[in-house]
């Protein structure tokens, strides 16, 4: 039997005759000859030790059956938060982001044929500016944590100061990422304590730690526990008094009910755009929000920015283009504000379509559903014996901490998972709450039946 001719769906020129034709034009005797400039000693000279490829239907089955082993909604309940939250992604958002015109394109370097992405990103920036109450929002960074890292770097750059205060009730992972990003700048980081009863920032400790060498305060609202920082205006005011910038990290869904960060004086706002129509995706791709107070600060900000302009020959024809590129690495190289190049444009498109779909009324209804469900759940869990829920006395939005009188949070968390309930992520020990506190997140996707199942799983785990 003769060998089947080599064919592959992804390789249109694999056929021997085509290769021969192409080689002729190139003036080479073989494909190997095209690689003859690679010195012998660095040539691999053997096949890669990875399995041979398989046909599409085989790969699809193989990978999908691996994924089917995961315990995920709708075959389980997820009440986890901590920076990635279970929210509903409207079908219309999925429809928009799965258009190949958007997702198979790249950065809109040729503005004339890329107006679709450019306008979408401009719309994203506009919607975010309104939501955040900020003057300028870039067209995305990788995620919340890396945006926070960039923000603290920027604060150091703008103020010339080399110390940052980090709220002790902000996400530990985000604080670690800030550390990785700022270490080379010689930035020192200091933690501001939080009020152990309310879960909110300790104003006294903040005032003690603010000094003329502080570049910024990084605070999250809602904080890691889900608590609402009701004195945020005073916090920001105190930072400003000592000449520090206020960098505020947000869950954008909370801004359906909470005052916009620009409204209380934030200088830089960062946050996680994932709840705006992006699936949890096991931690990414998500959407790093990055916005600044004014145009002056914008000149020092990282990331791409889209502007509105016109056609060159027709000033009545609206058009969009990338702007202020002189901040960026492809122009400024080592003097750039950041090295960021590929960012998360498709996720910004998701957020823009999500926000416009919900709109003024839908977004408000979402906020009310979230805060109602979370309080309904927190109270229900409070009825379970051996549980204090919510643990903190302060106001909260969609996440809350629950403490257990006798059991370790780690045990409870794993026990509940066995019942198909993913909930009660153990509060990291850095917060100093002991090992008996778990974190819960309840959103619009959770029904009273789900919450009942959560309560009984918790009961069973205690």
């Amino acid at each position: 039997m003769r060998d089947a001719p080599r064919r592959h769906p992804l390789l249109p020129n694999l056929d021997e005759a085509l290769v021969a034709k192409m080689l002729e034009k190139v003036g080479a005797g073989s494909v190997d000859e095209l690689f003859s400039d690679i010195p012998q000693k660095v040539r691999l000279g053997r096949k890669l030790k990875i399995p041979e490829g398989a046909a599409e239907h085989e790969v699809r089955r193989e990978v999908q059956s691996k994924l089917a082993q995961n315990m995920t909604p709708p075959n389980s309940l997820c009440f986890l938060g901590g920076g990635v939250w279970p929210h509903y992604v409207p079908a219309a958002v999925e429809s928009i982001t799965s258009r190949q015109e958007f997702y198979t394109a790249y950065t809109p370097y040729q503005a004339e044929v890329s107006q679709g992405m450019l306008q979408s990103l401009f719309e994203y920036q506009s919607l975010m500016c309104d939501l955040l109450g900020m003057e300028v929002c870039n067209s995305s960074l990788y995620d919340w944590a890396s945006a926070a890292g960039e923000a603290v770097r920027m604060a150091g750059r703008v103020t010339g100061r080399r110390k940052a205060l980090l709220a002790g009730n902000s996400g530990t992972q985000r604080r670690s990422v800030i550390g990785t990003y700022t270490e080379p700048m010689g930035m020192s980081l200091e933690t501001v304590a939080y009020d152990k009863a309310r879960g909110t920032l300790d104003m006294g400790d903040l005032r003690r730690k603010l000094s003329p060498d502080v570049a910024c305060l990084y605070i999250e609202n809602p904080n890691f526990f889900g608590g609402i920082e009701d004195a945020i205006e005073d916090v920001v005011g105190a930072a400003h008094e000592s000449g520090a910038l206020a960098v505020v990290g947000v869950d954008p869904i909370s801004l359906s009910l909470l005052k916009e960060p620009g409204g209380y004086g934030s200088d830089i706002v960062v946050g996680e755009g994932q709840p705006l129509g992006i699936a949890m995706n096991f931690g990414g791709p998500h959407l790093g929000i990055f916005a600044v107070r004014d145009l002056k600060l914008a000149r020092s900000m990282p990331g791409r920015l889209i502007g509105m302009t016109t056609a060159a020959s027709d000033p009545s024809r609206r058009a969009f283009a990338m702007v202020l590129q002189a901040r960026e690495q492809h122009i400024r190289r080592e003097a750039a504000m950041s090295n960021v190049c590929t960012n998360q444009s498709l996720m910004a498109l998701a957020a823009a379509s999500y926000l416009s779909l919900l709109g003024k009324e839908g977004f408000r209804s979402l906020g009310e559903a979230v805060i109602s469900n979370s309080h309904y759940a927190a109270r229900r869990l409070g009825q379970v014996t051996g549980v204090v829920s919510p643990h903190f006395k302060g106001a909260y939005f969609k996440e809350f901490v629950v403490s257990y009188r006798k059991k370790k949070a780690e045990t409870v968390y794993r026990q509940m998972a066995k019942k198909g309930v993913l909930a009660g992520y153990p509060v990291p020990r850095e917060f100093g709450l002991g090992a008996e506190a778990g974190s819960y997140c309840v959103t619009e996707v959770h029904t009273p039946e789900d919450i009942e199942r959560l309560a009984s799983a918790l009961e069973g785990a205690l």
Binding site: T104, A312, S345, E368
Partner: protein, 490 residues
């Protein structure tokens, strides 16, 4: 010339389309919840309560129409050839999208117990092993979100390694042909950038590197093949020279599409590597992201990788934060997981032989396209006698400034995307063309004849203003960034 017209919709902004009283998606509160929580607004302290949110009001159909119309004004890989040099705009297999939209991917939470996500972790573990084998590295961290973040991780690893070995070396060598992200990443990591000149053949010479090395040299960032599309013939000697001087070698994997199954950075002597999965491993570019930029290390530097890494223990796979010397995390959670999964699917579709074919055919396509161009019009800037690798860089011959831009804008009218222009910076009027293995040879012919025709029209001055067939004529980019007219939101 085939006719092409991009759609034109004078599509207003969402806010201009808005009318009070409409909504595209709502979330009513459950009756039973409402009975218990009567006034949700009272749960928000008055000091931080928001009165209203200014968002547009549109129906679901209106939102879809808006974005669908915008999508028609966006050129993409599935519409036509997109040979953007250095970006590897290859075809993104549909099956990857289907698999990535499985519940087991989309709905997985990064903080759920590892025993409940073994399927996904096993995929990441296999992906990590494959990338290590493909590059000749000891281990990869999949956590970095894009190429530039991978670069930052890599230079931070070099920095930490040297600090741990009591060295305060503070200079990183970067060739003059390098991507802008290289010097930007080095600077972010606190290094001073020392530029290494390329020779007239577009090659970095070991001797030049040796002369620039000193006891301040922390390492070198090196792209192979380089941005001129040429293999760096002295790469091993350069690695040796830098190592001898006490520095470490960083491999920028942006152009790895040329070398799959042919050569591995690990065998060349590199200590740290990043890969762009959205380039070489066919994950969609998303209109400017998301990508993924995993970073790999030799044995010597493996403990310095950013956390988490995926490990396998007696109870299965887990996310490992325990690397002794890790530079720490650079991103929240695991990485751009959805992108990692797509790259894994791609590797499974091709396998060992298929990946080698990818590079063979990508290199063949670049050389073929290059040889199809009029050599008078588009002379190679460097190394005329050398074979190209994944891409070809030519210099548009013209007395008029802006010739490369004119060619780029004109080719858009043919229904094809422009090459990368004015990069690398060391090439006058540069066009950087990377066709990839995805383009059938007929498309390569079509592209070459379009460029040749454009040059002929430029020469006899009949080219005129371009583009004329795009959604909009030439965009006023000066006005866009001018302080008096700058508008970044509406």
């Amino acid at each position: 010339m085939k006719r092409f017209r991009q759609a034109v919709w004078d599509e207003p902004l969402l806010k201009e389309l808005s009318k009070p009283g409409r909504v595209g998606s709502t979330f009513p509160v459950d009756k039973r919840v409402r009975a218990r929580i009567r006034d949700p607004l009272s749960l928000v302290p008055s000091s931080v309560r928001r009165e209203s949110v200014n968002l547009p009001e549109l129906s679901e159909l209106q939102v879809l129409r808006h974005f669908n119309r915008l999508s028609q004004m966006n050129f993409s890989v599935e519409l036509g050839m997109y040979p953007l040099g250095s970006c590897t705009m290859k075809y993104n297999p549909k099956v990857s999208e289907v698999v990535a939209s499985s519940d087991g991917m989309k709905n997985a939470h990064p903080l759920q117990p590892t025993e409940t996500v073994q399927g996904l972790l096993s995929v990441f573990y296999d992906l990590e092993r494959s990338l290590s084998e493909i590059t000749g590295m000891n281990r990869f961290s999949l956590s970095t979100a894009a190429g530039a973040q991978g670069e930052l991780a890599g230079v931070l690893m070099i920095r930490k390694y040297l600090r741990d070995h009591r060295s305060a070396r503070d200079e990183i060598l970067v060739p003059d042909s390098a991507h802008g992200t290289n010097p930007a990443s080095a600077a972010m990591a606190g290094f001073k950038v020392v530029k290494v000149p390329s020779d007239e053949d577009g090659q970095v010479k070991a001797r030049t590197v040796g002369e620039l090395c000193s006891d301040r040299t922390a390492g070198m960032m090196f792209t192979v093949p380089n941005t001129l599309g040429l293999f760096e013939g002295e790469v091993s000697e350069i690695c040796e020279a830098v190592h001898q001087a006490g520095g470490l070698m960083y491999y920028d994997g942006a152009n790895m599409n040329a070398l799959l199954g042919r050569a591995r950075p690990g065998d060349m002597g590199f200590d740290v590597v990043h890969l762009n999965l959205h380039k070489t491993f066919a994950t969609p570019h998303g209109g400017g992201g998301p990508g993924a930029g995993p970073v790999g290390a030799s044995k010597r530097l493996a403990e310095y990788l950013p956390v988490p890494v995926v490990s396998k223990g007696k109870d299965g796979y887990y996310l490992d934060n325990s690397l002794e010397h890790s530079i720490g995390p650079l991103k929240g959670f695991v990485g751009n997981s959805g992108v990692l999964l797509r790259a894994y699917v791609y590797i499974r579709l091709l396998g060992a032989s298929g990946l080698a074919d990818v590079s063979s055919l990508a290199v063949l396509a670049a050389n073929y396209l290059w040889k199809s161009l009029d050599p008078e019009a588009f002379p190679a800037s460097h190394g005329k006698e050398l074979r190209r690798k994944h891409e070809a860089v030519v210099s548009v011959k013209s007395e008029l400034p802006g010739a490369a831009m004119s060619v780029a804008k004109a080719v858009l009218d043919y229904g094809m995307h422009a090459p990368t222009v004015y990069f690398p910076l060391i090439v006058h009027e540069a066009l950087m063309i990377e066709p990839t293995e995805s383009e059938p040879v007929e498309m390569l012919d079509e592209y070459a004849s379009a460029l040749n025709e454009i040059y002929a029209r430029m020469k006899d001055r009949t080219l005129g203003e371009a583009p004329r067939n795009a959604s909009v004529g030439k965009v006023d980019e000066v006005k866009a960034s001018h302080p008096l007219t700058l508008k970044t939101h509406w």
